[in-house]
Assembly symmetry: C2
Homo-oligomer: 208 residues x 2
């Protein structure tokens, strides 16, 4: 590293701070940048500088947006009767890439994780409850279902359970609260499936 | 992707052009940038913009540098009797990280690769031959050895053979031309070693 000039070293050190990027990868990326056209680097720099000031959270669902409300909440063709609650915008993007869901979202920006000192008040749970309360309380209530799509790990489960209990205290039984299905992923090999997944798969077996 | 605002999408699309970074990783990195302090992003942008104008190639060895001559060539404590010829600056950094070599380098910036239309004239071979010629021809010749440290793959081998033959035509027998040792990597398991490596290991066996 000491044999790199500062121009490259500074960029490499910055890239090393990004998740999943070690020293060798950071160097490789910095060298790659060196070979890109000057104007591309200029444009990228400008985008990086303005990133934080331009990017806001949607006031309804907390997806990223440059406006008040994100593209999904602003889209009249989306089904407003169902809210899918996800941990991160990356999870939202996974649903969107598959075009498998036409409802709207609520992004928690985290999960309840006591070991890392993340409590319910640190993520967008209060905002979700207020939003559901507002929607179900209005005279033109469209909301029928909340899908808790947090990850199937310990913290994600705990977050889902916490939200379910809170939702039950503020809504009558008219609101359906659901959770994503668990089981074998498509293309999986039973031989290599883990015990918990198999357990969920057998418990949740369906008529064929 | 369509549900990301432009501020994030532009950065993500740029990052996707970097080697080894796919769409999901690019999104993850862009989101991570969003959480960094404004001043860090500003500094990074400035470094990116000035990268190409600041970074040059060392006039002797073609390592990256901000000056005329790189830190290694400029260092009087380095052994000038031996030149290690590597394909890329990343290879040079691997040697430097280990502090296992105190000579100087010559960076080819590529390897002879006919399938990708890279010929001997496209990498810094001519410059190496001129450099060796100049050094061995001078009255105070210090150069004793050239280590051909190209990678042990087909193109790297071909490049080493090509350079060896060229060096032999321009120097008398006073110059030692060597190649890195091949064999089992440290910590390797014979059971999983590939056939070619085992072949090299048995051929190159040493008195014990």
């Amino acid at each position: 590293m000491s044999s790199l000039p500062n121009s490259l070293k500074n960029i490499s050190l910055f890239l090393e701070r990004l998740p999943g990027i070690g020293e060798k990868t950071a160097n490789r990326l910095a060298f790659f940048l060196l070979n890109l056209p000057e104007e591309d680097l200029k444009e990228f720099s400008e985008n990086v500088v303005s990133l934080k000031s331009k990017t806001k959270l949607c006031k309804d669902c907390f997806n990223f947006t440059e406006k008040e409300v994100c593209e999904i909440c602003d889209n009249n063709e989306r089904d407003r009767s169902i809210i899918c609650v996800v941990e991160t915008v990356l999870d939202l993007l996974s649903f969107e890439q598959g075009r498998i869901y036409n409802g709207i979202y609520h992004v928690l920006h985290g999960k309840i994780d006591p070991l890392n000192r993340v409590g319910p008040e640190d993520i967008k749970i209060r905002e979700l409850l207020e939003r559901v309360n507002r929607l179900t309380g209005s005279r033109v209530n469209e909301l029928k279902e909340v899908v808790l799509a947090t990850n199937p790990d310990m913290e994600g489960e705990a977050t889902a359970v916490y939200i379910k209990n809170k939702l039950k205290t503020i809504t009558d039984n008219g609101l359906r609260i659901t959770r994503l299905a668990y089981g074998l992923p498509m293309g999986a090999n039973l031989e290599y499936a883990d015990y918990m997944t198999l357990k969920k798969a057998i418990e949740g077996r369906n008529q064929f």
